[in-house]
Structures are given as C-alpha cells and as structure tokens.
C-alpha cells in the first residue's frame, strides 16, 4: 500500500502536507514519488491562483481515468474555496479539512483500506481547539535540517487581492506550549533552520489577547530554548506591516538565534493602491518600519512581496512602487503579475492592466532589484560568513548554501557538508547570488552565534 501526495502553493501547504504524510505513514502506508504505483493519491490544494485550481482539476481527471484499471483512493485537502467544495466532492473520494486530520485513518478505513498498523489507530477525542488535533500531529518533516513550524492559521486582514480569509478562515493562534514543544523537539534533532509560519505571524496571540503570548514574547521564548544549545537559525514568515512592532525587532536584535532577515511585504509603493488593496497601512508607516529595521537590525537583509498591474494601477502608481524599491534597497523581492484570484474581493474589479504592461513593469522592477541586491552582494566580497549548506546546485557541481540573511550562494565542497553550518569567504558576487570558498576552518561545525563578520 503506497501513497503519493502533491502539495501546491505556499509553505503553509507544505507544512500541512508534512502532517498528512505523518498520519498516512503512521497507518503503515509508504510514500512513493511515483504516482503510477500509488494506491492513495492526494492533493493539498491552493486557491491563491487560478493556475493551481486548474491543476487540481487536471490531476483528478487524470486520476479518475485510471480508476478503471486500478484500485485508487483520491483525496483533497488544503486551501479550498467554499464554491469549489461541492465540485471537488463530486470528483474526489475524500475531502477533508486539515483540522479533521486526526480522523483521516477512520475515513480511509471506511473505504476498505485497512493496514495492520491502522487497526491500532483510534481517532482523537474532540477538543475545544478549533483546529482539533491538527497541531498535535507530529509532522513528517521534508528535510532533516530545515523545518516549518505553523504558529497560526487563517487571516483577518482581508486584502482585496487575496482569498485566504475565505479558505482558511479567521486567525487562530496555536497554543504557545505546543509551538515551544515542537521547537524543542527540532532542536534535539539538530535542526539548523526553523521557520515559524503563519499568514500574519506578527499578529500571533491577538485572537487570544491577554491569554496568549504576543509574537515578540513567543520569539523570545523560542530564542531562550536555543540558549547553550547547538546553533540554529529561527526565521518567520510572513509578517504584515500593520502588526510589526518595535518589540519584535528589538527581540530579534537581542537574540543571536533569531535570524537577521526580515520579510516585509510591500505589495505596492503607492498609497492609493494600498487603500484599494485594503492593506491598512500607509507608505509612511512602511517607511518608518524600514527605518526601524535599519536602525535596530543594521545587518539584516530585507525581502518583500510586490504585485504589479493590480486592478486600476496607473503608470504613476507603478512608478511609486519603483521609487519605493529604489528607496528600500531590498535583497530579494518576490514580484508577481496581478491576476484576479477567484473568491477574492478584487476579482469583482476589472483586470484592466494589459498583460504586456504587467510584464514590462515586472521587468523594470526586476532590474531595480538586481541593482540593489547586486550592490549589497558586491560589498560582501572578501568577507567571511557562516552559511548553511542546503543541497547541491542544479548541475550538481557545486554545493548550494545560504547566509543567515538568506542570500543564496554556491561553493565547492564534499556532500557531507549538506545540512551543516560552515564558514566561507565570499569570492564573487552576482546580482542575486554569491560564490564562496570554504575557509580553512570551514569543515568543522561552527556556531553562527559566535560569528564575527
């Protein structure tokens, strides 16, 4: 008995998929990368883009066509718009919500799929937690040295371009005890990079104000777990500028284990577009935040998200985004062409910026990014960094790695370094990446906390 699970979309979905895999493996069902040999086929769906939804429909048509020649059980979970739910129910054998994950073995058994191990699994009792047993499932982490830890689910921000509030519901903070226990287990396993995940991580705890930690307190507690332990870096994504606080930045500054890398979505550099996006902050507020970041965390790298060609975006408004990018000097920007997302409020507005204009704007912003990122990268040549080796590059010739600030780089070295911190000297800089060589002492495990660049 084997399963094959596809996850679409963001890290939240990857994290959800890791928990689903853990449940299936707990039933004694093995994972396979080969769809053809799987008996259970599943998708963790994403509703952020129409392309992802189209892929779900395409996959299930393909899988259902196979049913006349093999016994298959198909299932779907993840971010699903209410309007898609009845359509998926007609096509998939099973549709389950992530908070129903503890019941998954029962659901599968009802289809006659019984494994020896699954006979010993009983569904968890109902709890008052709106996410049921979801948080309690020990995930099947995709990597031995990097892990995502969900700290929150849902979103209350209602940005007009986004459907997440309609698919994942209101913000619900995971109990801090659960989070700290999972982080502790990861530290014991020797994980080197932990990313705290949520749609708006820095509004963590606001749904249980007074009864739960704030995000700054949570970060501090996570950092305390790292005191005197083998080195690791802690990241978080993604924050909303509205809820980013000085306390969060100060906490990061005070604790070496908290990585000096900030992802601060801009989306647009024009106040009026921000209003239409319902971002609930002004450019002035964003600018103040960037100044705080530069002041409190002078070595931090800064990443962002930007949408070009949003409904009604004028040339002048786009140019304001371009100016903002020049001003804030990002190290990385995830720039997306606007496309109406089914279910999101802006899908009811005209998608009135021609595709050719969107592409041209994306190209212009990419140039600005290359300039700012390239300037930063060139300043790093000759410096020594501690980096985390995370794999091989595409051609397999080099090791790939990243700095604490998530700047990607490549270096030559033995495969045994994958998953390790090493010290390198930067030898070359490109616009979006670096090249490095191992320092003499690079082969021994190093502590990023002791690094002096």
């Amino acid at each position: 008995m084997k399963f094959h699970l596809i996850h679409l979309g963001c890290q939240m979905n990857q994290s959800d998929a890791e928990r689903i895999k853990a449940v299936l493996k707990g039933m004694g069902i093995a994972e396979t990368d080969n769809e053809e040999e799987a008996n259970i086929l599943g998708i963790v769906s994403c509703s952020v883009r129409q392309k992802s939804i189209d892929r779900v429909y395409s996959k299930i048509e393909e899988w259902n066509a196979r049913k006349d020649r093999s016994n298959l059980l198909t299932c779907v979970s993840g971010c699903i718009l209410p309007a898609d739910e009845p359509k998926f129910l007609k096509r998939f054998d099973l549709l389950f919500r992530i908070h129903e994950i503890a019941k998954l073995p029962d659901m599968i058994r009802q289809y006659g799929v019984v494994t020896p191990a699954s006979l010993y699994i009983t569904s968890q009792a109902q709890t008052n937690d709106p996410l049921g047993g979801f948080w309690k499932v020990e995930p099947d982490y995709s990597s031995p040295f990097e892990a995502y830890v969900p700290i929150q689910n849902g979103c209350d921000k209602f940005c007009t371009f986004c459907a997440v509030p309609y698919t994942r519901g209101r913000e619900v903070s995971r109990p801090s005890d659960d989070i700290l226990a999972e982080v502790e287990r990861l530290i014991q396993r020797g994980v080197k990079s932990i990313t705290l995940l949520g749609q708006n991580v820095n509004s963590y705890g606001l749904d249980k104000a007074g009864k739960e930690m704030t995000f700054a307190q949570l970060l501090r507690s996570v950092a305390e777990l790292g005191r005197g332990r083998p080195p690791f870096w802690v990241y978080f994504t993604s924050p909303h500028p509205r809820d980013m606080s000085t306390q969060v930045l100060q906490t990061i500054a005070e604790h070496p284990v908290l990585a000096k890398q900030i992802h601060l979505p801009l989306q647009s550099g024009d106040d009026k577009v921000l209003i239409r996006m319902n971002r609930n902050h002004s450019m002035e507020r964003y600018r103040e935040l960037v100044h705080q970041i530069r002041h409190i965390l002078p070595t931090a790298t800064l990443f962002t998200d930007i949408i070009v060609g949003f409904s009604g975006e004028t040339q002048e408004q786009f140019e304001n985004t371009q100016k903002a990018m020049e001003e804030f000097q990002y190290n990385m920007a995830y720039i997306a062409l606007y496309s109406p997302r089914p279910g999101a409020a802006s899908s009811r507005w005209p998608d009135d910026v021609p595709q050719s204009v969107k592409k041209a704007r994306l190209a212009q912003l990419t140039e600005v990014l290359r300039q700012s990122s390239g300037d930063y990268n060139r300043e790093q040549v000759g410096k020594i960094f501690t980096v985390l080796v995370d794999g091989k590059d595409r051609k397999g010739q080099y090791l790939s790695a990243r700095t604490e600030g998530k700047i990607p780089l490549r270096l030559l070295g033995p495969d045994e370094l994958i998953g390790q911190f090493v010290q390198v000297r930067i030898t070359k800089a490109a616009d979006l990446s670096l090249e490095a060589e191992l320092c003499e002492e690079g082969l021994r495990s190093v502590s990023p906390q002791l690094e002096a660049v």
Partner: protein, 217 residues
C-alpha cells in the same frame, strides 16, 4: 482546509431604505464587536459570502447591516428579500477600522452605505467631536436613519437640492480641509472617492497617519 467558523443568526427585520438599499437586522447571538468592524454574511447552503460593516452600536441587542442591492449580484438581491424568521450565516467580526476612545476631533466621510460603520461609531459613543459628511445621489438616502439630529451632519447630494451641499463630498473636502487639517479623517465608501479625498488632504499637508480608510467594493 480550515472551515470558517460560522454562526447562524435569525433575521429580525428588513427595512427598505431606498430603491437600492436595505437595512437588515439580525439576532446578536452573543457576538461582541468593536464599532467599525465588519462581518461576513452568507445564506445557509450557499457558497457566496460578502463583507458588511456593522451599522448597529456595540450595546445594541441586535446586529444591523446596510446593504447596497447590486442588480444581478450573487448575494445582495437575496439578502434584500429576507424576511423576519429567516436565517443567515455570519462569521466575524473582523477589521481594524476602529476608533479609540480618545477625544480627537474626527471628520467622518462616507458615500452611500459607507455610512454604516460611522453609525456604529455614534451609537457606541465613539464619535464625540465628530462631524459626519455623507455623499449620496438623492436626498432620500440621507433619511435612512433618525440618529442624526444630535450629530453635525453634512449632506452632500449630487443630483438634487436639499442637502447642505449640492455636489460631491470631495467638493466639501476641498473647501474645508485647510481648516480641519488637525483632525483625524476617516473615509468609508467607494475607492474613487477615498482616493480623491486622500489627494486633497495630502495637498493641504495632512500626515497619512491621520487618514483611516475602509474601501467598499
């Protein structure tokens, strides 16, 4: 998929305000909220939800929303046909368009049903020293409520006489922004009005942190 947590609320009444707008009153079902927040409303068994600002006060024993009926819309025409005793699904409250209890002077600018959150401000005692500026096409749309007798209320009516100003709210802003530059400005309604208002306030040097917006779509 995490299911949005929905509560079933009973319709207590539907009041036709004009040919294109209704006010629907629901049972409160213990929901607490802050004036200025919104809720998601849908009909049981359907998959279409829309956000509506709460128009009632924090202490009112019911919830009220104002609905602009969009011809051919997926939900608003159905909501306008609700009858007392019918049920709706409500999720929330959500949103950050919420004033604090400070005594700051506020200018509240609305178009059409965008007046809903401001009505909640007033009914919740959170609009002391505020002036309300309401843009509508016809005078009948300003007679939706009887709460305004004690409130500085400027009616900007674009298609007929009878209001304090014959024209659009942006004309009023252009005339009055310089003398009200120390105030907090709160906008709710269509995005074009908000954007034009924003430009006018920037021209007189208002700090963007003085401006709060809630876009209707």
């Amino acid at each position: 998929m995490f299911r949005i947590i929905l509560m079933i609320h009973r319709v207590l009444g539907v009041n036709t305000l004009s040919s294109g707008a209704v006010c629907v009153r629901f049972s409160r079902e213990g929901m607490s909220f802050q004036a200025g927040q919104h809720i998601l409303v849908s009909l049981p068994g359907t998959y279409v939800a829309r956000e509506y600002s709460i128009a009632s006060g924090e202490q009112d024993p019911w919830l009220e929303i104002l609905i602009r009926v969009v011809p051919g819309g997926k939900l608003s025409p159905k909501l306008a046909r609700l009858k007392p005793g019918d049920h709706v699904e409500i999720s929330g409250p959500c949103g950050f368009f919420t004033p604090d209890l400070s005594s700051a002077k506020r200018v509240l600018v609305a178009t059409g049903t965008g007046i809903a959150p401001f009505r909640s401000f007033f009914r919740s005692g959170k609009a002391a020293q505020s002036v309300l500026v309401h843009g509508v096409r016809q005078l009948v749309e300003t007679s939706w409520f009887d709460d305004w007798s004690t409130v500085p209320y400027v009616r900007c009516v674009s298609r007929e006489d009878g209001g304090e100003l014959r024209g659009r709210v942006t004309q009023w802003i252009a005339q009055n922004a310089p003398r009200l530059a120390e105030c907090e400005w709160w906008f709710c309604g269509n995005s074009q009005m908000i954007q034009e208002g924003w430009d006018l306030l920037q021209q007189v040097g208002l700090d963007s942190n003085q401006i709060h917006t809630e876009v209707y779509f």
